[in-house]
Amino acid sequence: MSETAIRPKLVAASAGDRLRKAAPLLLAPVMALAGLIAIADPATWLTLTVAGLAMGLMIFIMASGLTVVFGLMDVINFGHGAFVSVGAFVGFTVLAWLAGWTENPAVIMNLAAVFLAILASMAVTGVLGLAFERVIVAPVYGHHLKQILVTMGGLIVAQQLIHVVWGPDAIHVARPQSLRGSVIVFDAVIEKYRLFAVAIGLVLFLGMRHVLRSTKVGLLVRAGVENGEMVEALGYRIRRLFLVVFMVGSALAGLGGVMWGLYNETITAHMGSDLMVLVFIVVIIGGLGSIEGCFIGALLVGLLSNYMTFLAPKVALVSTIALMVGVLMWRPEGLYPVVKAK
């Protein structure tokens, strides 16, 4: 037996193959470039791009939980928007309590108030997620039709409970002192809060990536997405893992709610279900279950809708649908389809 016969044959991927693999990564820069060409004015473009990134990252925060929950347990939660709304309202309440801190010109006090609000709403939405999973989702595992119906019912009830607790009217949320106003970079006016949102979004994305790639829990989650039964067979309780992921996903939705409330400066009980439209588009574009795809999808949607709001305000939402259609024509299962070993 000659040695060459059993030597594995390593063939370098061709340039075309590598490009095809990397293509989704190039989409966001391509979109930004196309925006620059269409808008033609660099200062306006920079303003819109930062706004788009801020919006995209906030949507990513809300969508990430939904997509991992689906990937892990095949559960689709149409009530995810309820956590966004509840998070925003809890955050508002905390910020109102800490009015002394938010009106204080000191940056530290302002940031502390925002972080306390975020922590509080994450805690509340996390616990709410636990209850939601136990009471509403758990009895209908493995049954998509019922899941959609039941979680939709949960969304209605949650929205109505917000009406009971906080009243039916839209509420104005004041940003803390140091996050108001804007800075001027290269002639472009950029709102301070948007920079703040981009920073938080990036930190969260990197943190999430780190957890998923370099920790044992992350390994289990990724393995569970790929083949849940095998993970269970190896002795891990995937149900418990799933519960944790569900809670974290809900808490992230609550965080997204606080950030979105401060971004728009108004909150309503149905803001969550309105946002769910964008969240679903993002999740579909990225491929159900994929965090990276979700990230790229969110950036694309954020950038596109900000450019389109400037270029043709009436068709902004329709343009994101067109984007989704385009992506699905190209890759019917989204940018990064999650391969299930089933």
Partner: protein, 352 residues
């Protein structure tokens, strides 16, 4: 004869048959049994929603697809009639043009959505339709030069269908025989024909294949049925019927706006009606729509009374206020999906 009309799909339960007969007779003689504008309006709405809910059940109950775009198709039908009545004036030609146009647009849109999102997973379809329907609703309210925006469109309908037109100069059972009565019977007869048509469809070989696809898509595909084709066909059919129901609504209330046709709340109402009545039976649509609309019209005043009665207690008045009725519906919805997935019809059938 009756068996043929019902396409051989008997209620199969004595109490159920009784309830259905009562509903059908009450609707057929509504103007004489329950005189008054409000009750006639309620009866017409029940007719229209029976068709709308039955067409949704063709998707949800028979094909196992969740769509959130049903109000979009409903709205397209309504706007079709509204736009053509506004543009061409109050004539039956205008109504015909609007109905045909609206139905064609709804069918084409359903075909496009179905072909591109039913390929992958049924769950995709729910999310895609939700996104498309919200975008459509936003678009309609943005394009205010054509659609009247949030205010909607008010238009005139042919004089024959208005209260000003007198068919007979006498009263029958103390009811004036005027154009409004004619309009009601136009709605009633159209609804009846559409409902029987849907019953015919679900009891045809095509309908049976839909059920096979619902129960085991993989197996249906293996036997040789193109699953995607059947799913898309069901989507298109139900969209067309929804558009026709929308056209009836547009004729009946002489106004079309986003709140009456496109809002997410109506979508949720439809879901509730299907689930409460019973998924996968056309009769469920009849019972669900009747119960729901009666409750919507008359129960809210009852809740108002409950709010006053419990005024002394903390929190409870807030929970039973008439504005909170949607919350109780949500609870009812969850409970019925868990415990009565077959709805009222399933319950009655399993007993009888």
């Amino acid at each position: 004869m009756i068996d043929r009309l019902l396409s051989g799909d008997r209620p199969n339960s004595r109490p159920l048959a009784l309830v259905l007969i009562v509903i059908a007779l009450a609707l057929a003689f509504a103007p004489f049994l329950f005189p008054g504008t409000k009750s006639l309006d309620t009866a017409a709405r029940i007719c229209i929603f029976i068709v709308l809910v039955a067409s949704y059940d063709l998707l949800l109950g028979y094909t196992g697809i969740v769509s959130f775009a049903h109000t979009m198709f409903f709205g397209i039908g309504a706007y079709g009639v509204a736009l053509s009545l506004s543009a061409l004036g109050a004539s039956f030609t205008a109504i015909l043009v609007g109905v045909l146009g609206g139905t064609a647009v709804a069918g084409a849109l359903a075909l496009a959505i179905g072909l591109f999102s039913l390929r992958v997973k049924a769950i995709f379809f729910a999310m895609v339709t939700l996104a498309v329907a919200s975008a459509f609703a936003v678009l309609v309210s943005q394009l205010s030069t054509i659609t009247g925006g949030e205010d909607g469109l008010t238009y005139r309908i042919p004089r024959v269908l208005t209260p000003a037109f007198k068919l007979l100069d006498m009263r029958i059972l103390d009811v004036r025989i005027d154009g409004r009565l004619l309009a009601y019977y136009l709605v009633f007869v159209s609804a009846l024909v559409l409902f029987l048509g849907l019953l015919r469809i679900v009891n045809s070989p095509f309908g049976r294949t839909l059920k096979a696809v619902r129960d085991n898509a993989f197996r249906a595909e293996a036997i040789g049925y193109r699953v995607i084709w059947y799913r898309t066909a069901a989507t298109v059919l139900s969209a067309c019927v929804a558009a026709l129901a929308g056209a009836l609504l547009a004729i009946w209330i002489r106004y079309t706006g986003p709140a009456t046709t496109l809002s997410m709340e109506i979508m949720i109402d439809i879901l509730l009606m299907v689930v409460i009545g019973g998924m996968g039976t056309m009769y469920g649509a009849m019972i669900g729509a009747t119960l729901f609309i009666l409750a919507q019209t008359y129960l809210q005043s009852l809740m108002g009374a409950a709010e006053h009665a419990t005024g002394m207690l903390p929190l409870i008045p807030d929970l039973v206020a008439p504005e909170r009725w949607l919350m109780w519906l949500g609870v009812l919805f969850i409970v019925s999906v868990y415990f009565f997935p077959d709805g009222v019809v399933g319950r009655l059938r399993s007993r009888g």
